[in-house]
């Protein structure tokens, strides 16, 4: 497993080098190359992320936490990863406006997803206040 980091760094360095070469003649291809490399590196990592999350799920299943909460947290993490990926790619392509819109969309979706939990929290607090 530690050898993976060598692979990842190697792929990253070589890809940066190739991207420099291609960018001189065809900037579009350089962007697509960067996109592909980013996707491949994330694909490398996804398996390990899954291991960590699986452990988290196992722990949560052995306690009696409501599984909806864990689901929500997982969805938020997923949205955060995807949003970061898309925003950085578009920012790399020089489209700052699109990147900030993607980030805004991620924030809004995370907010919407977490609304039920927030409502439960508020209801709990209200029920604690004597009428």
């Amino acid at each position: 497993m530690p050898a993976e980091i060598l692979q990842i760094v190697g792929i990253g360095l070589i890809a940066a080098f190739l991207s420099l070469i291609v960018k001189e003649h065809q900037p579009v291809f350089a962007f697509l190359l960067t996109l592909a490399v980013a996707a491949v590196l994330l694909l490398f990592l996804v398996d390990y992320i899954y291991e960590a999350l699986y452990l988290l799920e196992t722990i949560a299943a052995s306690t009696d936490i409501n599984l909806v909460y864990l689901d929500t947290v997982l969805k938020i993490i997923g949205i955060a990863y995807i949003t970061e990926f898309g925003a950085q790619m578009t920012r790399d392509a020089g489209e700052e406006a699109i990147a900030s819109k993607i980030e805004l969309a991620g924030k809004v979706l995370i907010l919407v997803i977490s609304l039920p939990i927030f409502r439960v929290l508020v209801e709990t607090v209200l029920s604690l206040i004597p009428a």
């Binding site: 792929i11 070589i14 890809a15 190739l18 991207s19 070469i21 291609v22 003649h25 065809q26 579009v28 291809f29 350089a30 697509l32 190359l33 996109l35 592909a36 490399v37 996707a39 491949v40 994330l42 694909l43 490398f44 996804v46 992320i49 899954y50 999350l53 689901d71 997982l74 969805k75 993490i77 997923g78 949205i79 990863y81 995807i82």
Partner: protein, 69 residues
Amino acid sequence: MAYDVNTIFQIAGIGIVVAMIHTVLKQMGKEDWAQWVTLIGFVVVLYMVATIVNDLFERIRSIFLFSGG
């Protein structure tokens, strides 16, 4: 995973070759052919990249957003 790394090199190779062909065709005075070669190379590379990104999105969907919605 070795397949994916091969795809990276394929993309870079296609980029370099297309750039060379573009230059040569332009030197020969065939500007329109050079544009078509670039366009076709771009479509091919775009298809490959889209496949990888689709793979990534599907994986993330299956891990993080498994319960739909």
